[in-house]
Symmetry: C2
Subunit: 196 residues, 2 copies
Amino acid sequence: MRLYLVPISGNSYKVRILLSLLNVPYEKVVVDHIKKEHKQPAFLKLNPRGEVPVLEDDGTVIWDSAACLIYVARKHGGEQWLPTAPAELAEVMQWIALAGEEIQFGLQYARRGVLQDRWTAGTLEQCQATGRVALAILETRLKNNEWLALGRPTIADIACFPYVETAPEAQLPLEPYTAIGAWLARCKALRGWTAR
Amino acid sequence: MRLYLVPISGNSYKVRILLSLLNVPYEKVVVDHIKKEHKQPAFLKLNPRGEVPVLEDDGTVIWDSAACLIYVARKHGGEQWLPTAPAELAEVMQWIALAGEEIQFGLQYARRGVLQDRWTAGTLEQCQATGRVALAILETRLKNNEWLALGRPTIADIACFPYVETAPEAQLPLEPYTAIGAWLARCKALRGWTAR
């Protein structure tokens, strides 16, 4: 298995976390985002979207971080990280959707804007407002649940983790969100979790 | 099964399409979005995100349009609309991700802005730029494929359909995208497809 990644990318980090938790060996291919290698023809052949991560496995190519998590979870994680019964699968997927929408367009884009002064989907205030929606939903959920879905760690937690952890870099301090803080610590304490 | 929806909502429309294709009987509960019923405590109990659609089925509550599609496809559609083999599931999920990200934050938010003068994630130009990324990826894919994933209709097509069809309302004419145009027609010709 080969993972195309950018080391500072939170979306790449999601896949690295799961591969590490499941102890799956893989080859890392670092994409040079400063040189915009991910927007060049060779990379666009792998992923027409022009984004990392991309996973290549025996000729199968998967783009999109959520799709990569799903592929690895189903191939190497049994029913533990992504079960297929309708209600269970849907419960995990709700949080995957939150990760791709409010978390990505809120927390991630606010952070990217602050760090790179790049604004493609609204101002800092707009991104932060969207990000706060995500944080409020997560905090409410985590007040009464140790994990986002199914009462156990799943790829829901992994998909939401990276850009929630870096919310302070988006100028959204996490101190008011005590349940989120405790959940971040629980995630990092999982056996096999990998550091950023 | 009970579907909470807003009649003009494309995200609600996705779930209505699949329920119709699979001929699943359900009760419609129309949420009054003008009165902001979806932001009131009673609705927020069902869905902390405060959005339609929401699906209720024998005590199971599913929010998020993609999660609703996944639930219905797995419960009533066998392997046809969402298979669970790792590579197949991931292939469908790539397009579900595109639907929730570039299509939602590009095509949908540009349309909502034009129709309701409501801008929460960038200007018209920014939303259109994001929307054009989605259209380009779809056009490339559909030039050589009748369907987005697996060579047959799946929930990938349903998830992408509504806000691509309404791209002209976001001031993005579809005439240059001939492969997308043919695909929209193929979708609408599916037996059991429901009109907006």
